[in-house]
Point group: C2
């Protein structure tokens, strides 16, 4: 099994669902510590309108501060539209993440556009980002099923991935937005995108809604995924809805990888400390396990 990259999305996908806004200084502390722990990529925020999503209103500020520092990790942000791209370029975001939903209903609810129109628009924004010298990751949202539509035709998902690849966008995230994925499906989809373009960097974005999260992550890794998007403590999903759930916990995945002798370069204790602080700050138990149990000691690594 090749060593997998970790993309920490807690500061974005995790915190955007929180009722209370986390202060910029607190976010900075968590982001810096995750980056210093050796995580490869960290998603700092989202360029959405601050009045619509106050949790993400400090994204520009975060990048202006982090941009003056030296970090090994690559920082990313979500870009939703042309205005977001302008702000992200202005803020100096190194990795721009953006996506289109393979679900027509989800796409219309999120953007007012169907999948086809949204794809044209996002590809144009992505290419403008690349032209401006930034790295770009494009995603297929609701790739494994949709909370509104149910099953999503695999042909639609692969068609969207192919459209990205034809446009020269080779960093592709397959997002299980609703948590509908099962391991066989994740394995097949990751493999199929890699077959479309062997050089493609495929990322899996998995939500642990139905208890299959970690199994889906390992299926993606087995199929040759380039990175996994995880969140500290497994934070994410609106705590007030029936079925939303967070991503797989960053520290749980790193712990599992280290049990197999992989990613020993990452400071697991530092990640566990961050997850504990996130839980303490939010005042509730998070889904992650290892931050509660403590990791199996290094001497016990089999």
């Amino acid at each position: 099994m090749h060593p997998i990259r970790i993309h920490e999305v807690g500061p974005r996908d995790g915190l955007q669902a929180e009722a209370a806004v986390v202060p910029t200084e607190v976010k900075l502390d968590w982001i810096r510590r995750v980056a210093e722990a050796g995580v490869d990529l960290v998603q700092v925020g989202s360029f959405v309108r601050g009045d619509r999503l106050p949790q993400m209103a400090d994204t520009d500020d975060l990048f202006r501060i982090l941009g003056k520092e030296s970090h090994h990790a690559l920082f990313s942000a979500l870009v939703l539209n042309e205005r977001g791209l302008e702000r992200a370029l202005e803020a100096g975001v190194p990795l721009l993440c953006m996506g289109v939903s393979a679900s027509e209903t989800h796409s219309r609810k999120n953007t007012g556009m169907g999948t086809e129109e949204a794809t044209r628009r996002i590809i144009a924004i992505a290419l403008a980002g690349k032209q401006a010298g930034r790295k770009v990751q494009v995603s297929v949202q609701s790739a494994f099923g949709c909370g509104f539509e149910g099953a999503i035709d695999e042909t639609r998902v692969m068609g969207l991935a192919a459209a990205y690849l034809e446009a020269g966008l080779t960093s592709i995230s397959l997002a299980d937005t609703a948590g509908h994925a099962h391991p066989g499906q994740v394995h097949r989809y990751v493999r199929r995108v890699r077959e479309l373009s062997p050089g493609a960097e495929v990322t899996a974005h998995i939500h642990d809604t139905y208890g299959l999260g970690m199994a889906n992550v390992y299926a993606a890794v087995d199929a040759g995924a380039w990175a996994i998007e995880t969140s500290f403590g497994g934070l994410g999903g609106c705590p007030f809805t029936r079925v939303a759930a967070g991503n797989v916990a960053t520290e749980d995945l790193v712990h599992g990888l280290q049990r197999a002798g992989q990613r020993l370069d990452i400071d697991l204790s530092a990640l566990v400390a961050v997850a504990k602080d996130v839980a303490r700050h939010l005042g509730r138990d998070l889904p992650g396990r290892v931050y509660k149990t403590g990791p199996i000691l290094a001497k016990d690594l089999a």
Copy 2:
């Protein structure tokens, strides 16, 4: 992927850790409903001394009642020693489960005997059970690591499995007693036992201590396991200790399998209803997901 069998161990591994004894009539209700839902095997209890583990004191009674009924499921019980075997034979248990820990320390703490002596004794009991016409499953406990010793030498685990096979005991459960397993390890161990004896029926008993439970289950299935031991609601592990955790939730696994078109013969709604009742009876939230979120509707199966 071949269809996997489900061995529900909630009534034994789940309930034995509960502070309050669950009344026999309540257990019977849960066991009958799980069996009627189409689960293949159900572990009813354990033939341990009733004064030592009052939660299991009604195991003989349960079998006497269930033995008069007609069920598709095969009922099993844990047998720890010669006295337990006598009671199990007397009670008419169709499938006798027993095991030895691959961890010397764990074995001594549990039985007062080291692994070697315990192996001789358990093999003798197992053969006596077979001679009495019962099915027998033997397990390797702490197969993937030990809470006392840490890593357990793979050679010890395979040696124990080989000893079982040489004695003609071909139904073998690899038990992750402490929850230390990781997917690559589970895959390798299941495969290796199957290589020792291609006809062996290998079961995986997985605890979700560090968040890898479901990934470990899928690794076992991928490697050709014959059955997985799961518990309703993911019940299990002492709620008062730092690191114990339950098995993977039966209904979460069945839900995942059904997402892939497998085990559609099992009545998932019935399992979800049981898990809800278990949680209600115990008065607390259990680790299982699907009994809380509800399954993805059948129309949405991808």
